[in-house]
Symmetry: D2
Subunit: 224 residues, 4 copies
């Protein structure tokens, strides 16, 4: 099973990160990882997952999987499918794709059985404690009101990062904590790490940057 990368780039459904652009972004992540020795994971869309995983040497995470067993489940993406496509892990419960508590529980277990690394998103420390109680590999705290703003959570709401780290460790010692929302540069990353986070989850800060490769280089500079 893959470690949780200290920098995880979520491609979302941005046109800038679909098809060939997904591949380019992943290659830029690979290049910066090689240069700096800091692992950068990428989260392409379901549709681009297999191609990115087969052509680029970085940890690849799905953006979501469904709480569906293989079988008669039209339109669902199972843990089995993403593993077979070469994914190392998956985001779960992103604020743009929230899950039922019970489904989240089922899917964490199913991912574990498939050897997939699980990163469960949560909006605050209380949700993070509940997410942590499912014993995923990581909890990523992202206050939804900061997503896409460029105002980093580590600056706008440092307490939420500290409270999340405390809440998660209380219920699941081995779960690491990422923080996201508004993260755009190395200073933000450094601040997040100093607040107790193990890494960051970023999206628009890289995907919509004029120079995504340079943006990743900057982010990585904040990792000690």
């Amino acid at each position: 099973m893959a470690e949780v990368p200290p920098v995880l780039v979520n491609f979302k459904a941005y046109s800038e990160a679909v098809g060939d652009r997904a591949l380019s972004l992943a290659r830029a992540a690979e290049k910066v990882s090689e240069e700096t020795g800091v692992t950068i994971g990428v989260c392409p869309s379901h549709v681009d997952l297999a191609r990115v995983a087969s052509e680029v040497d970085v940890p690849v995470f799905a953006q979501a999987v469904d709480a569906a067993e293989p079988g008669s489940r039209t339109g669902h993406v199972t843990p089995e499918m993403v593993r077979e496509a070469g994914a190392d892990g998956t985001l779960l419960n992103h604020s743009e794709r929230r899950m039922l508590l019970e489904d989240l529980k089922d899917v964490c277990l199913a991912c574990m059985n498939e050897g997939l690394t699980t990163v469960v998103c949560a909006s605050d420390a209380v949700a993070a404690r509940a997410a942590g109680a499912l014993r995923p590999h990581a909890v990523a705290v992202e206050p939804p009101e900061l997503i896409g703003t460029g105002t980093p959570v580590s600056k706008a709401d440092p307490e939420v990062v500290e409270a999340t780290v405390e809440a998660v460790k209380e219920v699941s010692e081995d779960t690491v904590v990422l923080c996201g929302a508004g993260i755009t540069d190395g200073t933000d990353v450094k601040a997040a790490i100093e607040l107790g986070a193990d890494g960051v989850l970023v999206a628009s800060g890289v995907v919509l940057a004029d120079d995504p490769e340079e943006a990743m280089r900057d982010l990585v500079s904040g990792i000690p």
Copy 2:
């Protein structure tokens, strides 16, 4: 705020427990409570909540509330509404009405602010630990496959009751544990209590009984 009653009867959407029949059932609960000194709470439908709460002297719980603030939320039932209707608390996340983890978190907090007692349902010990991490007043563990079967969870799957009690206490010492699914008589209740549960959540065992009053009397006999 109301204590969590040791016996909580969920009327669901049974025709046998709508309108005037809801009132009769609640009166039977009141009578058995008075006779025995064991508090029996009732969970009528949204539509019958106000009438039952105003006419009968038992703890009244909603079957669900929505994670909606007062305002422009057509068709939603807010914590404020059920409190104003006279409810003492509410079930949340019943297997027939599962909630998003984030909504469940928001609604637990909103209920607390309204002085409503929260009973969060969960399918097993892992879900119960996540539910417990939200610090509700009670977690009710109900393996969905046993609901409505007449085979009590305390007999079919005693481990799930014990594991739930342990998991919940681990994350929230003050949260009590109910158990449900297949409970029909005092023996089942007694077994549940011996496994560490603080009470039971029942539905068809009372609502569909030939003599619901007698069924409640029998259930209550299992409370020490």
Copy 3:
């Protein structure tokens, strides 16, 4: 079965329209109806439905019902429940409580079987045509972007009203058309009727008015 009232007031989940305030609003509607001879229907929350229906003599509509048959459906509100509570009909598919197409189909049929008048909301003419194809008693077109703005659909987007009337009549001759979103006075109502609507669905324009009774009197002045 009740006719579709030409003015239907949706109480939503506004604090101003819960409990005793729901009753006062419904009484104001009753008073204006009696004075003017124009029927005003009211849509209280699930929790206030029974009390409003038993104490006030106006058509009472639920804000929503679930596509659930009576039985083991915790937290759901069935057509049977609202009829037994005294409702004459129900809104369905409001923009704040959208439904699956298949559930909407099932629930329209179930409401018909219970003798409930169905008012299906839709965001535009195409959705209205699909809604009309289910043959409800009324389709209410409400462009979501105008809800609560005070800018009436009849002024901001008159074409949507005309196109909806045409689309609905094309698939279901007997279905009437209401229009909503931003309606606050008699001028708006008059404009809606001139565009081919049979009536209006209003909420904040009445519920949040300084003087709801006066607001209803003004609205009704637009009915020919």
Copy 4:
């Protein structure tokens, strides 16, 4: 834009149709199409879509797309994505992935704008009339209770096929009708066509067959 193929094979989330097995199944479809001159379309999972579309020469349909515009929509699959992956069209509203009426309306329009062929599933003639009112390229009627049974809808419930054809044509002359559920051989296909359907939607009858290629050859024999 692709025509609607007279035989459309839905791979669902069957393990038998994931990854390399998806490719093999699609190649078998290609072979039978070439042999017989009857077009067979395939619906692989999101994860296999791009690879099947690039390596096999048959019409490729997604199993679903989300009503999401490109952008900040983690875990969603947009019409743009599947088109860029090489899909010709998509299933929508399958009984295992039902959609909100409003989302279905939005996504039909978005697919049309991307040049994707839309096949909207419906459970019966009334739902099919509503689906047809959205003017998709095809409506596929599949009584959910027959899915996966091997009892063909054309035999178990011929009236539903006839009623659907009539209902759809009433609201959208150019929309074709497929029928599905329980279809396994050429006799079933022939019966469906005689009832007025333009083609069939099949899944387990092919995917779980001992010899899927032979199963497709048999199905195709029923096309006139």
